[in-house]
Assembly symmetry: C2
């Protein structure tokens, strides 16, 4: 079987601090577009790749996380949308569109197919399966409904609120009849939160010198639910502003991922005083909710009741910069890399 | 109505840092042993008073806690066991024994009787109603069974484990078939944990230079449940040793109560990685469980399946020193002050 050329993004070596261009490089290898004889693997053409905050911890060596570190010298792994070119697996056939765990390259031979899901409908943008209809969407859904146990009328705060997960949490909370405030790192994002996603209020955390006072201004009655995507100083300020029996969904802590020395959170005593439940979660524990989630979200998307904003870059070559940009908040909305459109 | 003399412990003024002798003083006032005409108050003779860690935050001014700060120049409030001398309230009669919120004095006129509970049985030591049969007992019960949702065979770690609450949590966990390790601050307490309370293992945290390594030694498989009475550095070390889907009951943070600047906890990212639920609670939310708790614990006490260790001092004059001693760990077991034995 003839091999074709296969452009790839290679992870160079373990890092500390902020990732840079130099930590990844583009190479071209070759690949056969057939799965090996007798294998249950799936051979896909990658269409859209997802840049996600959890990818940063994978760039540092650890044996103690829910997901393995990247391997130096190997292609970067991540979520994506792909088209099946050949399949040895009974669940997948040539021509199927799938989303799930793939690699940052033009073509991938996927041997671990447990994390691959067939795309049920294409009457929404296909790239949505890297975001609202993929892992980040399910994260927002499980995190908000299962972890936060929200009630109508409650006061909800979302950090990194214009990101892939945050924008959805805010909209889910509004649909339920909550009061929702979001924070983000630029005027453009704050405008998006208020004008496009329908948050009640939004603020630029970079312009606030006193986060505790800022949150008190937006939540004079306190916060019932905090959907935490950032950790660190923001979490510390939130703890001082929680209401009795409040809930904190610990979804991500992007403020800490590039630090060599983690910031200390000082106000945990408020977890006792306010009888707060803080719960961390990893989306792989909630995949069983995916069909239920789709059933809920697809009609909302089609009716325009939930909107989704993506920040797309073109070409695999752009992927390293796109991933790096996440950690300085350069993206506006969900960061997607277009490898091929079909 | 003639008045009698009434010795009292007065709270002097708000403090920072560790409390000292000079922050309380003994005075003698007078009191009528009758409730005022038409009042629904209860007039009691105080028998046993309880020294509890949560009393320290009340010595600093705050409006942001679940319990009010003490009033400078006023008698100290706290849990105790008392005998009713006169009552304007239909639920209480002369001669009743009660436990609940009273004051550090010989006789108290209790106007807020919602926190007063009639003592159902006296075939156990009466002082137990400041501890195993009172607030700390209910705290251990609700904290362990409701907050920690324990399962047989799980790995349980308790800090301040020889204290009023900790010694019970350990014994409840053993009864359920868990593996239990406790920490305390002296050899005497460690011996107590192993030899009297039946913990599987115990260690003196003051002798450990590396708490993370120490916990790894006692929990090579990790910790399923951490019952946290201390917060701070210990909590930080525990976070690195939690198992997937672990639970942390945030019951108290005595390591922080005397600090002007709270310690930062750096390892919260593990709440996400390990999908941990950390939940703070205040026992007033669980008073409805008291009858159920008594039903469980009384037979165990009578059969000797659960033991309880108290550290008693005699006389109201000893109360300030006894309270202060809590914060340096001077007490061995539950700290009780005997005001009168009947």
């Amino acid at each position: 079987m003839a091999e074709v050329s296969n452009k790839q993004v290679i992870f160079k070596d373990y890092i500390s601090g902020f990732p840079t261009d130099a930590d990844m490089y583009i190479t071209t290898s070759t690949i056969s577009l057939k799965v090996p004889e007798g294998s249950k693997a799936v051979l896909v053409k990658n269409l859209y790749l997802s840049c996600d905050p959890y990818m940063r911890p994978r760039m540092t060596y650890t044996t103690d996380s829910y997901v393995d570190s990247f391997k130096p010298g190997s292609v970067i792994e991540g979520y994506g949308v792909a088209k099946v070119l050949d399949s040895g697996h009974p669940n997948f056939s040539k021509g199927d569109l799938v989303w799930g765990f793939t690699s940052w390259e033009e073509y991938s031979l996927i041997t671990s197919t447990e994390m691959l899901i067939k795309i049920p409908t294409t009457d929404v943008p296909l790239s949505y399966y890297t975001g609202i209809l993929g892992m980040p969407g399910l994260t927002a859904y499980a995190g908000f409904y299962e972890i936060c146990t929200p009630k109508k009328g409650e006061y909800v705060y979302v950090s990194a609120a214009s990101g892939a997960v945050g924008q959805l949490v805010g909209q889910f909370a509004k649909l339920l009849g909550c009061y929702v405030v979001g924070s983000a790192g630029s005027k453009e994002k704050v405008d998006l939160l208020k004008n496009k996603f329908g948050f009640d209020e939004a603020f630029n955390y970079k312009e606030e010198t006193d986060l505790v006072a800022c949150l008190k201004r937006y939540f004079p009655e306190g916060i019932d639910i905090y959907f935490d995507n950032v950790g660190g100083k923001m979490l510390d300020a939130v703890l001082l502003n929680m209401r009795v029996h409040g809930r904190i969904a610990a979804c991500g802590m992007i403020s800490q991922y590039n630090l060599d020395k983690l910031e200390g959170v000082c106000n945990l005593i408020n977890i006792i005083i306010k009888q707060v439940r803080m719960q961390g979660f990893v989306i792989t524990s909630y995949y069983h909710l995916y069909p239920k989630y789709l059933e809920m979200v697809l009609p909302h998307i089609k009716e325009g009741k939930i909107v989704y904003v993506e920040d797309t870059v073109e070409g695999l070559e752009s992927a390293p910069q796109a991933l790096i940009g996440l950690f300085s908040g350069r993206n506006v909305g969900k960061q997607v890399v277009v490898v091929a459109r079909e």
